[in-house]
Amino acid sequence: MQATQKKQVLLVGNPNVGKSTVFNALCNKKQKTGNYAGVTVASHSGFYNYENEEVEVVDLPGSYSIYPSSEDEAIFSKFLIDKQQDYAGVIYILEALSLKRGLLLFQQIQDLGVPMILVVNQIDQAERRGITIDIKKFSEALGIQIIQTNAKEQIGIEEIKKAVLNNNFVKANKQSFETPNEHKDFIQKIMSHKDIDNEYKAWMSLSLGTDLGRIESIIEQMNEPDSKSLVPKRLQVQETVRRYQKVDKILSNVISKKAQFKELLTEKLDKVLVHKFWGYVVFLAILLIIFQCVFFLAEYPMNWIDDFFAWLSAFAGEHLPEGPLNSLISNGIVPGLGGIIVFAPQIGILLYFLYLLEDSGYMARVVFLMDRLLRPFGLNGKSIVPLVSGTACAIPAVISTRNIENLKERLLTILVTPFMTCSARLPVYSIIIGLIISDKSFLGIKYKALVLMGMYLLGFIVALFSAAILNKFIKNKGKTYLVMDLPTYKKPLFGYDFKMVLGKVWDFITGAGKIIFIVSIIIWFLSYFGPKQKPDQLVATNVQLDHSYLAKMGKGIEPVIAPLGYDWKMGVGILTSFVAREVFVGTMSTLYSLDDDAPEGKVIDKMRNDVKPNGEKVFNFATGVSVLLFYAFAMQCVSTLAVVYRETKSWKWTGFQVVMMTGLAYFVSMLAYQILK
């Protein structure tokens, strides 16, 4: 057997040029492609084997320039420059429809002395617009071989693999950006002083500016009186304008256009989709359709899953030996898992729609439409993407804030996104709404559905208003702006997105399943054992639920939760929810199935009939509302907190978020319970 060689390559290009599609075609790995700038918010890597070489492909976030203006672009530049020793070269993707913009970054990277392979993607799209690109001339002008691809159709992928195998990465033989004459001497001095052999790198040590804290130090070290007046930003603008002038010259020889110019899909669609009035109508209609599907289309598969788990629970109950273990499995773990898996269809439908919206290019239009409306709340139009995807899960939503350039707007978006009703709240809401809201309908719409929609709306409104309040207290650093590409509409990859959704839903089920399984067992143990009742015992076993360690713990926190109207069982449910919200359902199932007094019957019926010592129902209207509000506002997700810390790099803001959200939850729930009881 031949030994495999390993090689790392980077995939680089502007946002929306089909980079992620090329990545998927190369690596055949599950990874989200989108038609909204910033889908590849972190660098992902994938592997493929070709001949006897194993290649790692790192898909970097898209960028327009080597000079970063947002967090995702900073990640890109840092990786590209700092890791130059590690990778074999860069595969640079140009989109045939926007060569000009793509060449700016291409030439910057070339000038850094990085070896590259150039790929022009989606030439068919350009041809449809009547644009012909003379690839031969283009290749000569740039001094690099060009691979043509249509990544969605898998065309040209083999050629890329071959080029990587043969190490066809090319370094530029001449720098395309000439250092302006007035700075030439200074650059030469920096090169000899700092031992930099690349003129562009020396230039960048000036132009990259204060972001990396370099300019002062270099200028001070050089002790050059003239250089004190250098402004990095001005140097960047100078460079960009000069580069574009050169690029224009190259392209004018390469591109030819036919006279006829058909009105394209994008132009037609945007007449309606960004219209002052109809644009908003369409956006609202799309949201309504999504939620309609989430609640009503999902009902059928949800019933099947429900029936299956009811059957499984009964089956386990009959066939397992009698005893507490039987009760744990048939009434605790199985219904607990079923209680989560039943929401898989809803989560899947929601995610599928979000993927299609991103993929098609529509999300950028939503940003355009929402920017003005979100600004009074201290947010940016780009905040709408985290807010909408927060209805699925806050974790990817918080990560997707990286393309918001202004730090304050980004921080506000991160702080309020977890208020959006994520899919983990759905199981809790459904079970509580099922307990306290009647089955009646109003104008053909069920009250239950209305209340559920109300909860979604509540999350959104609280997110906006808390942003508005925080906006008053957080200082603004830097200028706020919106300069955003509006990509052409593309047909979404329906089948591919479906595969992605299945993967995500499976992750949700296994992730939640594991936690619920473990929590169920811990709860079972804590409820099976109790403080010793006779002096010679170490611990008491098989105790009544009320005498168990669990009850002792639950009753310990009862004074804290009593003003909210909760008994100790709900207290335990809420405590375990701080691992993840959906655990509440599993905990409740386990707890109620352990109640020896009534081993038969469905968990939900037991919850409905449970009474407090004073004869009051445990789940009455007031406590139900109180629980709903608590789950709407409280910060109860460890994974989200971890991501918030990673993104803000601040314990202060992470801690603030926990206190703000949970404090609000406690206060509002108490208020609601005290008024309604």
Partner: protein, 64 residues
């Protein structure tokens, strides 16, 4: 179009997106309440969204 000489307050991103001096552009749409503008420019018909504040940095000459 040209740029205002107050380069430094202007986001570099405008230039990086290819909206350069001497570029011919059209404002196709604008979101309500003086929201962002939908700008189409250049040979390649690039489309970007810009707020009015960013638009203020741009000096415009009318073409027919």
């Amino acid at each position: 179009m040209r740029y205002d000489n107050d380069h430094l307050k202007m986001p570099n991103k405008i230039i990086e997106m290819g909206l350069l001096p001497e570029t011919v552009f059209r404002i196709l749409y604008q979101a309500p309440f003086s929201g962002p503008m939908y700008v189409e420019f250049g040979e390649e018909k690039s489309r970007i969204a810009l707020r009015e504040e960013e638009g203020d940095f741009i000096i415009v000459e009318e073409l027919n």
